[in-house]
Amino acid sequence: MCLAIPAKVTALEENDMAVVALEGVKKRISVALLDEVAVGDYVLVHVGYALHLVSPEEAARTLALMAEAGILKEELDEIAGSEA
């Protein structure tokens, strides 16, 4: 029931790791739960793991809702606090 935030994959690394970016913030996450992922994909990120792919449209819609609810900045701060 917790929040997950969409982010764009900017680099793939060894050992099922990847770097995602959102609003200029970068974070290293695990993509071990995904069958396939490519640079440029949007993924839903929760506690350091990509849970599944989302379309760019769904990512934009979710980010807009999070901003409207006043929680996007807090989520970004939290991601920045655990910067890769």
Binding site: M1, C2, L3, D16, S30, Y49, E58, I71
Partner: protein, 380 residues
């Protein structure tokens, strides 16, 4: 976080405190919206348990609108939510439990679980949204059964290391110790680790305030939950009731036979949930199961209640001219991390331990109650 953050302070002598900061009210994002739009918005914002959230939302909205789903659709919706519960608990075990004994998370070993919810949705609702207002199921029984069978096989192989019925037949600490000795899964290692440290029975807060009030009074709940009073109207001398996998599964043999409400019983309850879910999903598919969801209305308020991955999830709504006027979500966190909730009561039992152990135990208490909640532990 939408559900706020939990701050735990471990005091010396003066006991511990739990502070749940409810930072965000979802209501403004939903006010003035049409019911169908509410479902979409909730599903987008709550990405992790989107199905349980959408399920509670549609039950609340449909009851406020005076409609009710047919029994087959209600069962199919419950099956989708149950599969999401299975997925979430598998993930929390695979990702977190190995780390408590210094090992790496085992996410890739349970990767197939990610696909189960979308596959069971497709099998039961043929690509349409199960939680749309007025949805009707179009079940492909064989396809749904195949997903459930696959989920059970994954549980047997990666979580239990033995058939689910064999695990469910285990009784007492001796039965679980035997399982730990025979099976090398992360779950078995977790229970073995607790046992080796003699931590199985720690953090036992008793069962006085364990259960929520009877569901028979559900119609009165929206009024009790309204406003800023939170879950306080439900508190008794024993504290605020809990809604966890332990309270849901305490009658299950492996849990009940531990005769304890300590850490071990709480972690075993998470396993009991997983061990029970495939059979319960088959019953739902055959029209014999009871959906773990309730709905009702009172004085224009609709209420939807769903047993989700971490406990009971409640949505309440009022409509004005067909649009949302007020909306409230009461999550398991609201009950369990209330200052008089189960987390506080468990932590209060740890006063006699040294600081390092208390911090380790506090992390275990939080994970046993709710492996998803955002929290900090501080020693005063």
């Amino acid at each position: 976080m939408l559900e706020g953050k939990v701050e735990i302070t471990l005091g010396k002598g003066a006991g511990s405190s739990v502070r749940h900061d409810r930072t965000v009210n979802i209501s403004p994002v939903l006010r003035g919206r049409m019911p169908a739009e509410v479902i979409t918005r909730i599903s987008s914002v709550y990405g992790v348990c989107a199905n349980a959230q959408s399920h509670a939302a549609v039950l609340a909205l449909e009851s406020a609108m005076g409609t009710v789903a047919d029994r087959e659709t209600a069962s199919a919706r419950a099956l989708v939510t149950a599969m999401e519960t299975l997925r979430e608990n598998v993930l929390r075990i695979a990702l977190a439990w190995p780390t408590f004994s210094g090992n790496e998370p085992e996410g890739s070993s349970v990767r197939p679980v990610i696909s189960y919810v979308s596959r069971v949705r497709q099998a039961l609702f043929a690509g349409s949204d199960p939680f749309a207002i007025g949805a009707g199921c179009m079940p492909d029984r064989e396809a749904a059964l195949a997903v459930i069978d696959e989920a059970e096989a994954l549980l047997a192989d990666r979580i239990f290391g033995e058939p689910l019925e064999a695990w469910r037949a285990r009784r007492g600490l001796a039965g679980l110790a035997d399982w730990c000795a025979l099976r090398g899964t992360a779950a078995a290692r977790m229970v073995a680790n607790l046992n080796e440290k003699n931590w199985i029975h720690l953090a036992d807060a008793g069962r006085e305030a364990v259960g929520l009030p009877e569901a028979g009074s559900v119609a009165a709940w929206p009024r009790l939950l309204a406003g800023n009073t939170g879950v306080a109207p439900f508190a008794s001398q024993g504290g605020v009731p809990e809604t966890t996998l332990f309270s849901r599964r305490l009658a299950e043999g492996a849990v009940e036979s531990l005769n304890s409400s300590g850490l071990g019983a709480r972690f075993v309850a998470r396993l009991a949930e997983l061990a029970c879910l495939p059979a319960e999903m088959r019953l739902l598919l055959d029209g014999q199961g009871e959906p773990r969801a309730m709905t009702g209305s009172d004085d224009g308020r609709g209420i939807g209640m769903v047993e989700a991955a971490r406990g009971l999830l409640i949505h309440t709504v009022t409509l004005l001219g067909g649009r949302v006027d007020t909306y409230r979500i009461v999550s398991p966190t609201d009950w369990n991390f209330d200052s008089r909730g189960i987390a506080a009561r468990c932590l209060a039992t740890l006063d006699g331990h040294d600081e390092a152990d208390r911090i380790s135990l506090a992390h275990l208490v939080v994970n046993a109650i709710d492996p998803c909640v955002a929290y900090e532990v501080r020693a005063a």
